[in-house]
Symmetry: C2
Subunit: 439 residues, 2 copies
């Protein structure tokens, strides 16, 4: 018999029609994990979990009762039973008169109680037991928000003429910052793990004009904090033929709106379970200059960067002043930006780059990049870096590159903001940090 | 003035209507790279390249002629001009009376001649100069076929209830084969780069039932051959609640059909340029047993594997016998398969795994996996491996896993087959091998 999903049972009951007034009077087959058992005097309830959700099975028959007694939590079963409307059951339908077939029996009880509404174990224990703990409906829902976000990112950019690319993670030169980079034994030579696809996505603007990439990036981050990971998913985009960074902000706005829409559409149940408060993305994200940001938060006008408390204050200001949970701060001082950043032609102390603040935190850094070969040589010299490790990168600029810019969104940081997670580790499937390389 | 793309000019000319009989009599603005210049006695043709294709610009005015003389190949320009129908121009339209604005001037002539129909430089030189050589229309088209394939893979599986996952590339144990694995200095300890998401995707069947992942995998492959890369894109899928590996083949068939459809729809121009011969994917891919395959190719019946010549002969046989460019060979001997492979219950010398042959080569390996904890302990012991590095993996099986299986497709191998490339390096953006870590 064809298997049906838990979530399809409610639809089945709702499907009663003149032609088929009793769709619930024929047996159905469900399959999944024994999520929970509750035994009363004359009846036992088995809650079955499958990829779509939960369904309650009512067991009264004594042979079935005996079988269910022996089924530990996380047993994998196939169940043939009759659907029966019950407004108090999940989905409004429960299954009665079940016959159980055991597909796989667990060797032990789970180390975490998956049936509780929330995992009660601490984060370290949850992460240690991730292969099982991830089965908790809230963990499943968290990742569904992430998966929908990735899809929204790609869909928006694909529709806007961006080409998806796959750039190498194994790189020959430790560029960009040099710090916090992992080294790899590469056939007896030294290679590095990419900290971002920055240099490659710029090169590829020369090939495809508009590119995006979703992939892992690596930071040998020695600090064990709630918002750093050694490996995370970077959502990168870069586009050519821009006037300046404001064109990048327009694309970023559309991308975030697309990600929000994808979560709303494709992770609806997950969002409801997690009580995700999706942001309204304004048609135009408010933009203020860095110097104005300093004034708003009352910081000295020679501060080169915004402190976390400043970012929180600016987010509050944006809500009060513009009714927006997003605020772009443009014109960050050049001294705090990487060498490829485009300066403001009107005042080269400031840059054509920006940070996007969302709910009190920096979500994204982006901006216009240099595009002239001579400017790169000057910028590398000024930053005290040798040109040699950048030969491949510089070659793109030697042969004609349009004005361009882009941005990167950290997937985990985005999801953590959406579901209000205190620690980014809670939103990755198997996080990596200075102390964690397993499971 | 709003920019139009080269490919949109042909549409513009075709858009003539009663309301707007002369859409080509208003100036338009295009932007891109100077792909080629051809000077005749009284006229110079400039071919402009943008992300959509090529457009021919006719220069007659003496001031513009002088300006164009100075524009080297790969200059980035913005051009305002009048569209003019010309059946012999690319797209049936050319631009006349142009005004050029230079956005970026190259520092040198390109090291490869991008304007030739095919790059004449050898593969090594093309790869050395990838930041520029990738701009060649055939290279662009090649990657467009790859990008469309990735999209088709995700779209098909997303529609079939699969969840996209992102599993770690930094792993704590060198599992699976132990050979050809890259080591990473991980905060003073040793980590490894994932050779595949195999173990994680199986764990995640316990979480989401059906998962897929598109991401980089790493092989420290010391052999410098035309079909090995140190880093490539793996298209992975894994699903639970299967009867056996035949259910996996059904999903694989749909995935390949979805990839072919995506290339046909989204990389139409690219496919035409490259003369891609897209395969017809039969509703049911023919399946033969490994022992039958040996008989067909006339190999001894104790051969444990198929040689490349056997694979070519089997592909020919499948075309003759079944009219199919695809052939699944099931039941590979257990001795040649990894420890997690499910044996055939009827004869445990054979496995519930398969290879999918396409145009004479193995495209995919897949199959049913073990799902019982005790079976894993036995299999690891039999393979002489310690259980300790597999603790996280084994935990999933200790707590109930459904019968499951999956497959992996190497993106580069797939694209190389489609475009008939002799070397997989030609279909990656920046390939990595034992001798190549730059650019």
């Amino acid at each position: 018999m064809q298997r049906v999903l838990a979530a399809e049972l409610a639809e089945l009951a709702a499907r009663a029609s003149d032609a088929d007034p009793h769709p619930t009077q024929r047996p159905v087959r469900v399959a999944g994990w024994v999520h929970r058992r509750r035994s009363l005097a004359t009846v036992t309830f088995v809650v079955l979990r499958d990829r779509s959700g939960l369904v309650q099975i009512v067991v009264k028959d004594s042979a079935a009762l005996a079988q269910v007694q022996a089924l530990g939590e996380e047993s994998v079963v196939s169940v043939t039973a009759l659907p029966s409307p019950n407004p108090s059951a999940p989905g409004g339908v429960e299954l009665v008169e079940p016959e159980f077939e055991v597909l796989s029996e667990p060797d032990q009880s789970p180390p975490v109680e998956l049936w509780r509404p929330r995992l009660t174990a601490g984060l370290a224990s949850v992460l240690d037991n991730a292969p099982v703990a991830l089965r908790h409906p809230r963990s499943v829902a968290t990742w569904q928000v992430a998966a929908a976000s990735m899809q929204g990112f790609r869909r928006t950019l694909g529709a806007a003429g961006f080409t998806e690319v796959a750039t190498p993670r194994l790189v020959g030169a430790s560029t960009e910052s040099g710090a916090n980079v992992f080294t790899v034994d590469y056939f007896g030579k030294q290679a590095y793990l990419a900290q971002s696809p920055q240099l490659y996505k710029q090169i590829l603007v020369g090939v495809f004009e508009r590119v995006f990439e979703v992939g892992p990036v690596f930071r040998a981050e020695p600090h064990d904090t709630a918002r750093h990971l050694a490996e995370y998913v970077s959502l990168d985009a870069e586009l050519g033929f821009i006037a300046d960074h404001r064109d990048v902000i327009v694309v970023l706005r559309d991308v975030i709106a697309g990600m929000v829409a994808a979560v709303a559409e494709e992770a609806q149940t997950a969002s409801a379970l997690l009580e995700v408060r999706l942001p309204v993305v304004p048609d135009d994200i408010p933009v203020i200059h860095f110097s104005e940001a300093l004034r708003i938060v009352g910081a000295p006008d020679d501060e080169p960067d915004l402190a976390p408390a400043h970012e929180r204050a600016l987010s509050e200001w944006a809500i009060e002043r513009h009714g927006s949970e997003f605020l772009a701060v443009e014109g960050y001082p050049m001294v705090k930006r990487p060498f490829y950043t485009h300066p403001d032609p009107d005042d080269p102390r400031w840059s054509k780059s920006f940070d996007l603040l969302f709910r009190g935190l920096e979500l994204t850094t982006g901006g216009q990049r240099l595009h002239r070969y001579a400017d790169y040589l000057t910028a590398l010299r000024a930053s005290g870096q040798p040109a040699d490790p950048y030969q491949g990168y510089l070659q793109a600029f030697r042969h004609g590159m349009p004005p361009h810019g882009g941005f990167a969104i950290g997937l985990e940081r985005w999801v953590a903001r959406l579901i209000d997670a205190a620690n980014v580790r809670a939103v990755r499937l198997f996080p990596r940090d200075v102390n964690r390389l397993f499971p």
